[in-house]
Amino acid sequence: MSGMLRFIAHCRDESVVGMDVLNLHSPNTKVLLGKTPEEARRLAPILFGFSGRTHEEAVTAACLAAQGLPPPQGEAAIRVERAVAAEMAQGHLWRLLLDWPPLFGHAGPRHRFSHLHRRLSQLRSGPEAYLVGGELLDLVANELLSGFFRAMREPSTLSEFVAMARRGGTIGTTLADVVELGAFIPDASICAPLLPALSAAEWAEGLGGVPDGAFCAAPTWDGQACETGPLARHPASPLVGKVMAQGHRVAARLFARVVDLGDCASRLRHPLPVDLPPLVDAAPLGPSAGVARVAAANGVVIHTVRLEEGRIAEYSVIRPSAWNYHPDGPFMREAIGRPAPERAFTLLSLRALVLALDPAEAYEVEVEFGDGESGQEESSRGSAEDA
């Protein structure tokens, strides 16, 4: 597929020495120009496809802020939070049940995924969301990481962590596989900083206006390319921190994703917790302009809009993949210098890194060796597209 996201690694002397990222798409927001906020809201789910409801809420929140109108309150705010939490959970389930297990030769529980995805799509009430949230928490404890829930204490070493992970659960086994693949982070200083948790008001201050296309394609915060996603949301989680401290950043991201799924489940049961920021937040961005910050499974989504006479005059979206696959971002920093002793290992190692940073679209990874050996393999998501 010519438009598919492509990662091409150039290898020499048993190491990745260069990396091309091709076809990293930005959404075509030009179609929103001239539209009213209501027209833009209706277009969002189709325009953005996956996470369509999340983008719909982002469009709505940014436009309300641009109009100087208050965000939804009370029960309406709870419905928004539940809808975004449900879509985040769907994104996490896609990665955890469909994409990660096959990478290491394990069967992904496809029917379990379909069942949960449909239930999350069909949520109509608080009590339903409460029940599905409980089902997701049971999934984490009983099917994904059961090894950790059968122990009375946390693992104190990496080998204990691996043993505990292997003791049960689809993702536990995959997590152990990822750790055993290797750490590949010689020095934490090579890693991109984690994007801090910022409110919409802080984004408004930092952006200063609707950003241009070049910034949206390669965004920075405080002058730095940062990482967004589950790891950036849960760096303080003790087990995530322990794995990260050992240089196993891919495994830390996978573990953080499960933690984030548990967080989504809790929000479905108890939306808008007082001790955590809401999933959707918006603020004014100057005259007739607004910014919305929305959480998605693969990271923070930023929508900015400027209105003229009630219609959209400027619109921009910063997607999580623009951070994570930035030329100086986490993918590039951790891909370059990776061991590349031979084709199969290099492909697996790079596919795990790509998946950990979650491009949220079909992709393929290729490796090219300086000595003429080359290999190409589609990701599990690419395989799913051909199903």
Partner: protein, 61 residues
Amino acid sequence: MAEDRKAVVELDGVRRTIALDLLDEVSEGDYVIVHVGYALARLDPDEAEATLRLMAAGRGA
């Protein structure tokens, strides 16, 4: 619940087979949102056609 259901979708003359596992009700001729091989949601046909026209115009701009 029907599982492993498949369908052929077409966009801009390109056809591909997708899974229908995530949708309950879908029929021949429906417009759907597709994501990496799965139909995610069924669309109102008028809304879908209007959006496709807009997107085609945006590509031509």
